[in-house]
């Protein structure tokens, strides 16, 4: 008993020589329609204007100053999906304070720099994750928090789960754990800051 009972393909009545065999056009199943919703978002660094107008020698300090300012005020978008969201909130709160790194949780993607994907990326949520990622202004980074965001975690074998958020959006830092401890998330943030300083002159 096949699971997807697709409509039986209609047989062409008479075969005209030389006529291309038109594949019977059957109506797309749900899975196929969903396939193009799950196409990954290309990574576009974008080029800043000052790189064209400033002479090379002046770009180095400008990059350093910009990277320093960007890394010390990373604004993550509150994007709590599942259980990791509780640990993310615990990291923001007073005991494992993230404010001391200048990290302020921000509800809207328009003003945020980091998207912390904390939880399972399901296939129904994938279009929303992609759209939110695209709506963020450009020097933006993604932290895949927890096993679910890294490769589907304990739910990786279920067919409604995207096996890892990096299949739909480019991810910069993977934080292991299910859920990762607040210290692990802080370590992920520091790794991201280190990465921003490293990649400043690309």
């Amino acid at each position: 008993m096949t699971a997807q009972k697709a409509a039986p393909p209609t047989l062409p009545e008479k075969q005209v020589e030389g006529a291309p065999v038109v594949a019977p056009q059957r109506e797309q199943t749900g899975i196929e329609r969903e396939a193009e919703r799950l196409t990954p978002v290309p990574y576009e660094p974008g080029t800043a204007l000052y790189r064209q107008i400033l002479p090379g020698i002046l770009q180095v300090p400008a990059d350093a100053m910009l990277a320093l300012s960007r890394k010390s005020s990373l604004w993550p978008m509150t994007f709590g999906l599942a259980c990791c969201a509780i640990e993310m909130i615990a990291t923001f709160m007073s005991r494992h304070d993230l404010d001391r790194f200048g990290i302020v949780p921000w509800p809207s993607p328009r003003q945020s720099d980091v998207m912390i994907v904390s939880g399972t990326g399901t296939k129904k949520m994938a279009p929303a994750v992609k759209l939110l990622y695209e709506q963020m202004p450009n020097p933006k980074w993604v932290i895949a928090m927890g096993a679910c965001a890294t490769n589907g975690g304990p739910y990786t074998r279920y067919d409604r789960v995207v096996q890892g958020v990096d299949k739909i959006i480019p991810v910069d830092v993977y934080v292991p754990g299910c859920p990762p401890r607040p210290e692990a998330l802080i370590d992920g943030m520091l790794a991201l800051q280190h990465k921003i300083m490293e990649e400043r002159n690309k």
Partner: protein, 375 residues
């Protein structure tokens, strides 16, 4: 000559999308509010953004591995979910859980109820507009409770500490003294949140008399837990269908009478006080030593074929497990009756006719956990 009006000028109802990524939807819940001015005309809830097949995966796991999925499904009241799952399998296998294990289970489940209601108080304060103050009051208390959970089970959030038949390992020696310490903190934290929110003029004005649900409406919609008790139905599984050793403690069940958002908040606050008293009673009656796993534990957990419906009073309501087994060590079908799923199905009829700002309060008063809703 009939002057017909230009349809473009007609005041049409505007659909507002309160979508999956929203500060006050407590996770990935989307509802499309059709609004006429400030009044909500219609509400279409969309869930399923966190549907990750916990039930399907538990069918592929044997009874020891399935416990991890209970924590991840109900990640604010993990011990209640584990307790329901273990009760179901134990009743199917007719296992007798030793005394000491039962008491430790009750203590940990009630402490988990405290930490879950603290999370509710924090999130509800944010919905009411007290931006982060209630969170900063609630989360230190959760940290104290999570410290004890970590000492007992080794993890802050995903405990997987209960086992079919009892517990995984013995609790640390200073368990009783640590729990007493934490209870002092919790009582103080509860008093702080009480002073901050309960008698607050604006909070009362915002919470009272919205989202009213009468008793038989609540029963018809299958609500359970604080939502049901706030509507005036005195129904608490710990009292009316006692499981494990709950019949040995005396505690009252807070019951509201209007069924509005303020009653739900008060019921949960009162429940926290009752939980503290239950924990103290359980600590006194805790047998100092004794086995935590039945002696005659079969090496491989094989259940006889059959079906069982075990239910537990989780902080959000009745967390039930309908377990069908065809023999063997894997459940054939496992349905998790999650209270958030049933309570959320009543959101539409609770919110139609209210104002737009109150929709957030009603959703917050339901205290839903989205992974519990979508499983």
């Amino acid at each position: 000559m009939v002057l017909e009006r230009d349809p473009a000028l007609e005041v049409v109802d505007m659909p507002i999308n309160m979508g999956p990524q929203h500060p006050s939807t407590h996770g990935v819940f989307r509802m499309v509010l059709v609004v006429n001015g400030e009044k909500i005309v219609d509400l279409v809830p969309h869930i399923g953004y966190m549907h990750r097949g916990g039930e399907k995966l538990m069918e592929a796991m044997d009874f020891r591995q399935g416990i991890g999925y209970c924590d991840r499904t109900e990640y604010l009241a993990q011990f209640s979910a584990e307790l329901a799952y273990c009760l179901a399998v134990e009743r199917l296998m007719d296992l007798q859980v030793p005394e000491r294990a039962e008491y430790i289970r009750v203590i940990l489940t009630e402490m988990n109820r405290l930490s879950s209601h603290f999370m509710f108080a924090g999130a509800f304060g944010v919905d009411a507009g007290v931006f982060a103050t209630s969170f900063t009051y609630a989360f230190p208390q959760r940290e104290f409770l999570q410290e004890v959970f970590e000492e007992v089970s080794g993890d802050r959030l995903m405990y997987a500490y209960f086992r079919v038949g009892g517990l995984a390992w013995e609790v640390p020696d200073n368990f009783v003294q640590r729990v007493h310490e934490v209870l002092v903190h919790s009582a103080q934290g509860l008093k702080d949140i009480d002073d901050l929110l309960t008698k607050n003029e604006i909070f009362m004005a915002r919470c009272q008399n919205i989202g009213n649900f009468s008793a038989d409406q609540a029963i018809a919609y299958g609500l359970s837990g604080p939502m049901l008790r706030a509507s005036g139905v005195p129904w608490d599984l710990r009292k009316d269908e006692p499981y494990s050793v709950y019949d040995r403690f005396n505690f009252e069940i807070p019951v509201g009478n209007y069924g509005d958002v303020y009653d739900r908040y008060l019921v949960r606050m009162e429940e926290m006080r009752q939980s503290i008293s239950i924990i103290e009673q359980a600590l006194e009656q805790l047998p100092p030593d004794g086995p935590i796993v039945p002696e005659k534990m079969p090496r491989r957990l094989r259940t006889p074929p059959g079906e069982v419906y075990a239910k537990v009073e989780a902080p959000r309501g009745e967390w039930g497990v309908y377990l069908v087994s065809k023999g063997g060590d894997k459940p054939y079908r496992l349905k998790m009756r999650s209270p958030s799923f049933c309570n959320l199905s009543a959101l539409r009829d609770m919110t139609i006719g209210q104002y737009l700002a109150d929709a957030v309060m009603i959703l917050g008063s339901m205290d839903i956990v989205l992974c519990d809703v979508d499983r």
